[in-house]
């Protein structure tokens, strides 16, 4: 008892003397105090001491990296540094410098490892729901139209519309895909992207396909709440033309990838329905149309740049008609949305990080992550930090790891070279191994310069250890080894991150349920105030 008191008082004495007579005692030696890591960390901390006590924002931008788990962030940041000729580990992705971060629990009501439909519904609507359903609560039975009636939930985008803000959705996936759809649609099944994807019974019971719900968003929202008058979503940019066009060759776009591009069996051309509805709106489907946009005079924009998902960033130049980058789409969306004095709500999804991971191609996932980072950086630089809350998050992670004991600066896509060595380290089986790997999936593939991750699906599953001697694992087409053979690599169940800057970002802290994201948006925009 006595000794403990002594120790405590001694510690107090030391700390007092540190502040009072630090110069004399020099507890921290100069080589510690002047160390770059030490001073840099002190500077970062000081920056964070400057707090913004404003909690209300005029605008909110939510960036969702589909499948962008923590290991993806770490390896993308290292790749970014290495592409700049640095060792890489010390680099930050632009949004990793945002002052506030939280860990987010991603599970769905009925699933330990979640999918995008359930997770994005949580972020957009403030409650957790089942896997595979969009904009409806857990009372729904997946695939059963009748069970969705009366269980539809309101989203941040809808509430922003009702409040009179401008709204926008940007995605590199099909715009009817789970993540973007959860901002505007209600569906008992994420796969009901157009009428041909729906069972007869669901159509008869009056359920609408997701593409129809996007184009008729204004009508359906006004029907749901009597007495409201909204003007519809201002900006919609992404892929997925096939769900908006009739199954008829004569409706093909110039860069159609199929003999018949459209999938709709109800003969409706939703792109022209949208144009009829918004006479001053602009519909674009290629890079040329996108480039010729005048955002000053355009108030409604609808862009569908691919029959299905847009190209991977690494593949973008190979598209026939050309596709804008996620950064270009974000910039254009902001230029249009910013014109509303009341403010705006924008959701931007990088949809293909997820797909490259599913295909087991780390290079593809990291390249799309860096393209996504560029979009976030540009949005941050082109909005007023005093009035715009920017949230960057993911919906879930992947079974993707950074492992072994590679030395500092070792190529992140390369083979493990131990500290103090120049040669690749050998595993117990006598063969070299990579830092990055997957627990499950299709496994090893050496597709060299192939930038389309999905080519993996035309190859045989080949899991287990391979002799990587003589194989360039840093090439775009290299697919990492995997342990468990599955038709595609899976999502993971661990937490993901939420990074935030701007008014209201102070609430982003701790470990939170994913549904908290909605409440942070709601709080910042005061969506339910009136």
């Amino acid at each position: 008892m006595n000794t403990r008191w002594k120790a405590v008082s001694a510690a107090i004495a030391v700390s007092l003397s540190m502040t009072a007579v630090a110069q004399q005692i020099q507890v921290i030696p100069n080589y510690q105090k002047d160390n770059a890591w030490y001073t840099e960390a002190q500077t970062r901390l000081s920056e964070k001491e400057v707090t913004n006590n404003q909690f209300k924002a005029k605008n909110v931008i939510v960036f969702v990296g589909d499948g962008m788990g923590i290991s993806t962030l770490t390896s993308a940041r290292i790749l970014k540094g290495q592409l700049n000729g640095q060792p890489g580990e010390e680099e930050f992705l632009a949004f990793e410098r945002f002052p506030r971060t939280a860990l987010v629990k991603t599970y769905n009501v009925d699933a330990q490892t979640p999918d995008s439909a359930g997770t994005m519904t949580a972020m957009m609507s403030g409650l957790k729901t089942d896997v595979g359903v969009i904009g409806v609560n857990e009372q729904v039975q997946r695939g059963e139209c009748s069970t969705s009636k009366g269980n539809e939930v309101a989203t941040a985008l809808e509430l922003a519309e009702i409040k009179g803000l401008s709204t926008g959705i940007v995605s590199t996936a099909r715009i009817t895909h789970a993540t973007p759809a959860a901002t505007y649609a209600k569906s008992a099944d994420r796969n009901w992207e157009d009428i041909s994807d729906m069972p007869e019974s669901a159509i008869n019971q009056g359920c609408k396909d997701i593409a129809d719900q996007l184009v008729n968003f204004e009508t359906y929202l006004e029907q749901r709440y009597t007495g409201i008058d909204v003007d519809g979503i201002e900006v919609v940019l992404g892929g997925g033309r096939r769900h908006f066009l009739p199954k008829d060759e004569s409706f093909n776009s110039p860069d159609a990838g199929s003999a018949v591009e459209g999938d709709r069996t109800d003969s409706r051309d939703l792109t022209s329905e949208w144009q009829e509805r918004y006479a001053d709106g602009v519909y674009v489907y290629d890079q040329a149309g996108f480039d010729s946009l005048d955002t000053a005079s355009t108030n409604k924009l609808f862009g569908l740049f691919n029959e299905s998902h847009m190209q991977y960033e690494a593949d973008r130049d190979n598209d026939i008609a050309g596709e804008p980058s996620i950064e270009q789409m974000t910039e254009t969306a902001l230029n249009i949305l910013k014109k509303n004095n009341k403010g705006f709500f924008l959701m931007v999804e990088s949809g293909r990080i997820d797909h490259a991971h599913h295909a087991g191609n780390a290079a593809g996932a990291l390249t799309d992550t860096l393209a996504f980072e560029a979009a976030i950086k540009s949005a941050y630089e082109n909005t007023d930090p005093e009035e715009t809350l920017i949230l960057v998050t993911a919906d879930h992670g992947h079974v993707f790891t950074i492992a072994g004991y590679p030395k500092r600066g070792n190529p992140i896509l390369g083979k493990v070279v131990n500290v103090g060595s120049e040669e690749p380290a050998e595993a117990a089986d006598g063969m070299p191994y990579t830092t990055l790997g997957y627990t499950n999936g299709r496994g090893f593939m050496n597709l060299a310069t192939e930038t389309n991750s999905d080519v993996a699906y035309t190859m045989d599953i080949d899991t287990g250890r391979k002799d990587l001697t003589g194989i360039d694992t840093t090439s775009a087409g290299y697919h990492q080894e995997a342990l468990i053979p599955l038709s595609s690599e899976t999502h993971s169940g661990e937490d993901i991150t939420l990074h935030a800057t701007g008014p209201g970002s102070q609430l982003v802290q701790g470990v939170v349920e994913q549904s908290v994201v909605f409440h942070i948006i709601n709080q910042a925009l005061g969506l339910l105030d009136e």
């Binding site: 997946r142 003999a259 190979n318 026939i320 797909h355 999905d454 080519v455 699906y457 599955l486 899976t490």
Partner: protein, 241 residues
């Protein structure tokens, strides 16, 4: 034996269609694929080629899998794989010109033998004429002896044989060739109505029993289609990948 049978069938069917042209569109051709080993083991597989303009399908009745390629534009083919038993399809993106290591050669999928391979072979015989003209080509490729009996009018092999120097061989033997556009159209339409999943979306739906089943089936069995060498690589030309 097979040869004679097949010529007979062709003779009959071409008589039936003699009023029409003997062009290479809207046709169905059945093949027997015989794998024989030096030890005397023999294995037969059946496959059927279905053609309509800018579409070709290879149907494997035994596995109930049909592979289809759409010719989108020069250098771009869009593959679709139909699982006939499940009435489901997996759609792949058309391969871009710069990538198309596997699927840029329309002639290879459409004809089973690529123009490039035919051009590299030596013509050794020619018999019959018109629709029934058969040209025989030979070549030795990486220790394999290739013999092709080619039907130029239909752009399909009548017989294609590959023998390696260990005495193993594969023989593709055409058994019938018919031209019935209604039947062909119905074949493609039935498959077009299957529920299709974009290959990029497979990973997101591990709750779908069909997609989960793909785990064991894989997406492309080695040697399922076209002419492959002993390592399962497509025989297209001397520059195989």
């Amino acid at each position: 034996m097979w040869k004679i049978l097949s010529i007979l069938i062709i003779a009959i069917t071409s008589t039936q269609v003699s009023a029409q042209s003997c062009d290479a569109l809207w046709l169905t051709a059945d093949y027997d694929i015989k794998h024989s080993t030096q030890a005397g083991n023999e294995q037969h597989t059946k496959m059927t080629v279905w053609r309509k303009p800018e579409h070709v399908a290879h149907q494997y009745a035994q596995t109930q899998i049909t592979e289809m390629w759409q010719f989108v534009r020069q250098g771009m083919l869009k593959p679709t794989r139909y699982f006939d038993e499940h009435k489901r399809a997996i759609e792949y993106q058309p391969n871009e010109l710069v990538h198309g290591k596997r699927e840029t050669d329309w002639s290879y999928r459409n004809q089973l033998v690529s123009n490039q391979l035919i051009d590299s072979m030596n013509k050794v015989d020619e018999r019959d004429s018109g629709c029934m003209k058969v040209v025989t080509y030979k070549k030795t490729l990486n220790g394999n002896e290739l013999v092709l009996e080619w039907l130029p009018a239909y752009k399909l092999p009548l017989r294609f044989q590959r023998k390696d120097n260990q005495g193993n061989s594969i023989v593709w033997q055409q058994q019938s060739l018919t031209k019935d556009s209604d039947k062909v159209a119905a074949f493609f339409e039935r498959r077009d109505n299957y529920k299709a999943t974009d290959y990029a979306d497979i990973g997101d739906d591990h709750t779908d029993p069909f997609l989960t089943n793909m785990v064991t089936q894989g997406f492309i069995e080695q040697g399922a289609s076209g002419f492959y060498d002993t390592k399962g690589r497509a025989i297209k030309s001397e520059h195989t990948h």
